[in-house]
Symmetry: C3
Subunit: 341 residues, 3 copies
């Protein structure tokens, strides 16, 4: 069960309500009026709780789980289990995520502006928003409705933020236009000067960085990331893209829609990613490189050339994943896998 | 000599006091009442200062050092030197660290709550604590005695922190239970949402992150790290573990006791480390991997499989360190080292 | 054209003024009194704007650009173009950077101390400085003239900062002496405790970190970096060096003058870089390593040994760049490039 100090649980919900919520089918013996009080992992769930069995590697836990009800699919549901009632769905992971949001709806934040927030006279803040202590909203900034800027967040002059956004504690945003339903974690630096220099007579000379950061709807950014504004063009993060912690996104980078960028990746200046690209942790992408749509890049790879649509690559320099796997298997001194292509 | 603007020196201490403090033996000619005023490196120490000689690679500095007294061991003490008195101990580095704390005890912070700190009515703060300007302590948070939350630190609702902890400027902590004597540097994001998504009908759907971060006693965390809370279980950092700067620790990671995690490492979701594991800088550890106790991982390695207890590994994919060294030596085009196993 | 919400444009300037500003030569047909209103990239520039053509790879854009005037050199100026007037200079990139600063001079910040800043009684702040809301200036800190500490910046006790510096939002600085014209981005942690431990009887024992961070004139640091103070010596960043985002610089590191350190690099304790060293993104440099002046290190390399002056290296372990290219080309399964040395 979750810790009540940190999470406000909703419910209880009857089995029938939950089944309708996820579009699933309860096993015949499940009493549809039974009340479920919370969610828990298979191995620690107790009576009154609901859990999920989404992968056969957890079958040992499934076999002895004390959860009252377990979300799974018809194939996995045939595995041996401990008398829990089954709720059959097509995609157990998706259904369990939906049940998570049912039990833990977004907290009703204390709307209003904290007396120790600093709001410029010319800033506008939509109704239902919450501005935390120490937060700063610059001149002419415009925030949508139901936004939450946490403690010590810094929203710079002219920044526009859509409805239902959350800006984490200590995050600073400047020179940026941000869509709706964007969630940004803590201590990010968004809109900073790009790393642009030319050789001048007295050493390096800074190039004025005159672009913006554009973050589209439904983007999610973790914590401690640095996203620089464009040099003359804009830096763009496409709709629905999710970015983990400690990621570096340089000036002029264009990231497509629904991409997944794992922790500690770095994308150098002016590179672009198509839609639905997946990038593993600690990957580095060179400057001025294009990654085609739906490409997938293994963790810790270094990408120095353009990548074709749908390609799956790994290594440094990045190569087709099978080629890389053969090399790494050879390096480990194990027999090479049989070639299937 | 240290810069008095930044460090408050205690002392002076007599040679006899220092020898007792570290359990060492002074050379016969050293006057036990001689007063030592400070510590310094071998090559810049002056009369009245104490230095350390812990490795024969510094023997040239030892030979000409002007330090009044030098901490070393009996073997190294036989090297040529410049008439400094010797203080012989078993472990010179440990003894010098102890002498450092003797001369530089923890500063007596100005206890009390700054008028511009923001403390929730329902928060409790132990006696002798210091809360800096702009710091925020959320509802129902509980801080122990003699804690210091530096400027603009953000302690979220319900967070528990033990005695004698230090939380650096700009660090934000939520959904966390923290032990005693924990030192956390600046601009960390602790307790943020893990990077958990499922494919939904309209793109990626966030999975509610309902676990906590548990940080045990005597943990030390540097600056600008991101440590996410668990998804349903907890993220755990074991007793006495030390973590450098810019480290990423994903949801559900369990780190054992007395581990050493160097800068810019990334540990992906649900992986676990046994006790006394040492991880070099910029290492990446895959998700759902287990690293056995006392394993050591070379810098910049990529760990994709479980690692046995006590194993020493390197490379990407990580392999036994000798095998990796043979490969890297071959890559450098030098003759392979003789096999000794 | 740049977004007026974020950038305050100066001008317009006549072609003659601009030509004098960069020491260039206008083509004969250009009317020297023509007024230029702003700068833009080749492919989006309009009438009244100036653009740059600095590399033949953009010749297709040059050929159809609608910019009124384009900065280029005499060789590139011979390429086909769309009737734009040409302004010929020796180094188009440098000239365009100079024109950028002409149109976008440093903003006239609102000087003065925000009522919600926290300035210690014993701190001194030079005239013309701006201290943002929530910023904290500690006891005995000394700031030069025309400095800007942005919102929630934290300047610790005794820190000295020269004239014309800018400290980004949420950046914390302690135990540091900083020169003039230093620009530091947001959410950096500068002067934190180095990662120094010795094995003690009850686990790891922290070594007191008693040095400082010295940042010389004209240094530029991005966002979310961690720069630790020295252990007994100092950590030093030499004059004119530029550092990107998310960089880790450990205790006792000495970086020379005019170095370029790209994003996500990590430099371990006590290593040193000569002048004019260039380090690519995500590079790791071992502790106690010396990198000779003018050396260049390819992105993602791991440097474990000393590097000679002027060497160009890559890979992990880093090797001469040609040797590394041969290996990577071989790994990719393409024919090796002809040996030219």
């Amino acid at each position: 069960m979750t810790d009540d100090r940190f999470f406000r649980r909703s419910g209880p919900f009857s089995l029938a309500e939950i089944a309708i919520h996820v579009g699933g089918e309860l096993c015949a013996e499940a009493p549809s009026a039974f009340l479920v009080h919370g969610i828990a992992p298979l191995d620690s769930a107790e009576t009154g709780e609901i859990s999920v069995f989404s992968d056969s590697k957890w079958s040992a836990h499934f076999a002895i789980s004390r959860a009252s009800v377990i979300v799974t699919n018809s194939r996995l549901g045939d595995c041996e289990h401990n008398g829990s009632w089954l709720l059959l769905v097509k995609d157990p992971s998706l259904a369990f995520a939906q049940i998570g949001h049912l039990f833990y709806p977004p907290p009703c934040d204390n709307t209003g502006i904290h007396p120790r927030a600093d709001i410029a006279d010319t800033a506008s803040i939509g109704e239902g928003s919450q501005i935390g202590p120490g937060a700063t909203i610059g001149p002419d900034a415009r925030l949508g409705r139901r936004c939450h800027v946490e403690a010590n967040g810094v929203i710079g002059e002219g920044v526009v933020i859509g409805d239902d956004c959350r800006i984490g504690a200590g995050t600073t945003i400047s020179h940026a236009l941000i869509g709706a339903r964007v969630r940004i974690g803590a201590n990010n630096s968004i809109g900073g000067e790009g790393f642009g220099f030319v050789a001048g007579p007295k050493g390096l000379m800074r190039v004025a960085q005159l672009g913006r950061v554009i973050i589209e709807n439904d983007v999610r950014i973790g914590g401690n990331c640095a996203i620089d504004r464009g040099a003359v063009c804009d830096t763009v993060i496409g709709m629905g893209t999710v970015i983990d912690n400690l990621v570096q996104i340089a000036h002029n980078v264009h990231i497509g829609r629904h991409c997944v960028i794992a922790g500690q990746c770095g994308i150098a200046g002016s590179s672009s990613l198509g839609d639905h690209v997946m990038v593993g942790g600690q990957v580095g992408i060179n400057d001025h490189v294009h990654i085609g749509a739906r490409a997938r890049i293994a963790a810790k790879s270094g990408v120095i050339h353009d990548v074709a649509e749908g390609a799956i690559i790994g290594g440094y320099p990045a190569m087709p994943i099978r080629q890389w796997h053969r090399q790494t298997v050879a390096a480990l001194g194990k027999p090479a896998p049989r070639k299937r292509d």
